[in-house]
């Protein structure tokens, strides 16, 4: 995967100048993190959560939702109770 693919996945477009700098930063960072490859992790379990918490749930109860105008308050574009966006492919 090259920098263009990664940028596309991230929905970020880089200018030529930014791209050059980013490639440079990427290479330095990869070199830097490659240090981890000297660690033997063969029999090590990954840490997904630092605390050993499990089974945290809520009961199936309804609480009031936000009002429609509050939901749409921060919307860049709205239309009759909906968020409006450019035409999507169906």
């Amino acid at each position: 995967m090259n920098i263009d693919d990664i940028a596309a996945l991230s929905k970020i477009k880089l200018s030529e100048y930014e791209k050059e700098k980013m490639i440079d930063d990427f290479n330095r960072t990869i070199d830097f993190v490659d240090k981890l490859k000297e660690v033997n992790v063969d029999k090590v379990a990954p840490t997904y959560h630092i605390l050993h918490i499990k089974n945290v749930y809520r009961e199936d109860k309804i609480l009031p939702s936000m009002k429609q105008d509050e939901v749409l308050k921060n919307a860049p574009e709205k239309n009759n109770g909906y968020f409006q966006v450019p035409k999507m492919m169906e």
Binding site: H49, Y57, N80, Y82, K87, M88
Partner: protein, 470 residues
């Protein structure tokens, strides 16, 4: 010879009161963007908390589908951008689905076949988009509704098998009351993966089919694809690995515009949610909540009520109908008659009014009484059906309706003979015709007597006496 391989991916919305990660209501059909909160809108800083019921419903589904229940399970993020996905990731399950390796049995040509279930996992639904000419509109009410995704193994080999599988799956989910499976409201959705293998082991590429809005559409789309795959193979060509949508109007599948850019969902465990640990006790508790499943109920109906295989299948296809049947037979013990009445009259009303058995006003006890009246000859079959329709609307007891309208069948010999004599007197020509060998005339005369009695005369007796009196 070709073999067709079909796998299904079914999304079923779960019947919880609140959403999967927040306390917003799941009610269908509310005004746009009125069932949202910071969590389901993915507002910055908000955090999900898993609804316990969602796990329980998924486990119950897994048990009902003979799955193995995963002891340690996690929620993962599936990352992609789309306007209906507020966090730009869907919280789903990737490596450790709650349930795996199960099956559902289908019965075809008297043979039982097991269709493998690869996995069942829980995830959140996305919002709903409406596409206008120049723009699209998004409603986030549906966002965060709990779903189970059921993925089958490619074990189905015909559209018929896929159809039967879906029918059974739907009835299981309805039986255990985890989903109402309304395809028209989108609470059940089905995608198809299909390819074809020739006898010399040449395979087409797997094609995914979407936009299937009914079981019939699933079957039709499969049939269409089957032909398309085979004809390509015969030309020495292959299918494209692609996603196609079913076009209802054109009755064909059409390739969906493929995304030009790379896709990689970058799954990883959601650091905002913790491990789901399901121990034996929890599973045992869930097992106790599983009601008798359709397959078992059907066998029991055949055994206990001596019903034919067909009747038992129809009656047990819905748990509510089966329950209704069992209630009615408490009050009326001719099982086959109850079965017939439900399969004809009750189903007719449900279909005509587009309602479910729960909406019907009639009480099982009253239907039992009605059937008793018919059996005893107090009312005719014909009148019985009329009364039934009234009962469905008003919820009145049959006794009430009969008494109010004076609908009790006339079986009194003298009254009937009196009416017959009147009809004979008024229709000398018909009597003549009958005597000249025109059998039709008898039918006409019977009709006239029934008319005279406003339908209340016992038709058996009318026939009997009329024959004698002419």
């Amino acid at each position: 010879m070709y073999q067709i391989l079909i796998g299904l991916e079914i999304h079923a919305e779960l019947l919880t009161n609140s959403k999967i990660f927040c306390s917003c209501s799941t009610q269908f059909g509310k005004e746009a963007n009125t069932q949202c909160c910071p969590v389901c809108l993915g507002l910055p800083g908000s955090l999900p908390v898993l609804n316990k019921k969602v796990i329980e419903f998924a486990i119950q589904s897994g048990i009902a589908m003979n799955c193995e229940i995963t002891k340690k399970s996690f929620m993962d993020r599936k990352n992609y951008f789309y306007p209906d996905l507020p966090k730009a990731y869907q919280i789903s399950q990737y490596e450790d689905p709650l349930c795996k390796d199960g099956y559902i049995e289908i019965e075809k040509d008297k043979k039982v076949k097991k269709i493998g279930i690869q996995r069942i996992h829980i995830e959140e639904d996305a919002g709903k988009s409406i596409h206008e000419k120049d723009y699209s509109l998004v409603d986030y009410n549906r966002c965060g509704l709990p779903l189970i995704e059921i993925v089958t193994k490619p074990h189905m080999n015909s559209s018929k098998e896929a159809y039967l599988f879906l029918e059974n799956l739907k009835s299981i989910l309805e039986y255990i009351e985890v989903s109402d499976c309304k395809m028209e409201e989108g609470s059940l959705r089905c995608d198809v993966n299909i390819n074809v293998v020739s006898s010399d082991m040449v395979k087409t590429n797997i094609v995914e089919l979407k936009n299937l809005n009914s079981f019939k559409a699933v079957a039709k789309a499969i049939e269409y694809e089957e032909k398309r795959h085979i004809s390509l193979l015969e030309k020495g060509e292959n299918t494209k690995k692609e996603t196609r949508r079913w076009d209802e109007h054109k009755n064909m599948t059409i390739p969906m515009r493929s995304k030009e850019y790379v896709q990689d969902y970058r799954y990883f465990k959601d650091p905002d949610l913790v491990m789901i640990h399901i121990d034996k006790d929890w599973i045992e508790g869930m097992k106790k909540n599983i009601p008798e499943l359709p397959k078992d109920k059907k066998s029991r109906f055949i055994k206990d009520y001596h019903l034919p295989d067909y009747d038992a299948k129809v009656l047990t296809s819905s748990r509510k109908i089966a329950d209704f049947f069992e209630e009615v037979v408490k009050y009326f013990s001719d099982f086959k008659l109850v079965s017939n009445f439900i399969m004809t009259e009750v189903y007719r009303v449900l279909k005509e009014k587009n309602i479910t058995i729960e909406d019907i006003k009639i009480k099982p006890k009253d239907l039992g009484e009605l059937l008793t009246f018919i059996q005893k000859g107090m009312i005719s079959n014909h009148i019985g059906k009329k009364i039934f329709k009234k009962m469905c609307i008003s919820g009145e007891t049959p006794r009430n309706i009969i008494e109010n309208k004076g609908l009790i069948q006339i079986s009194d010999e003298n009254s009937i003979k009196e009416m017959i004599q009147k009809v004979i007197n008024e229709n000398p020509q018909s009597i003549e015709d009958y005597k000249n060998g025109k059998d039709k005339a008898l039918g006409f005369l019977v009709g006239q007597v029934m008319k005279e009695s406003r339908g209340k005369a016992n038709p058996k007796l009318v026939n009997q006496y009329l024959n004698k009196m002419i």
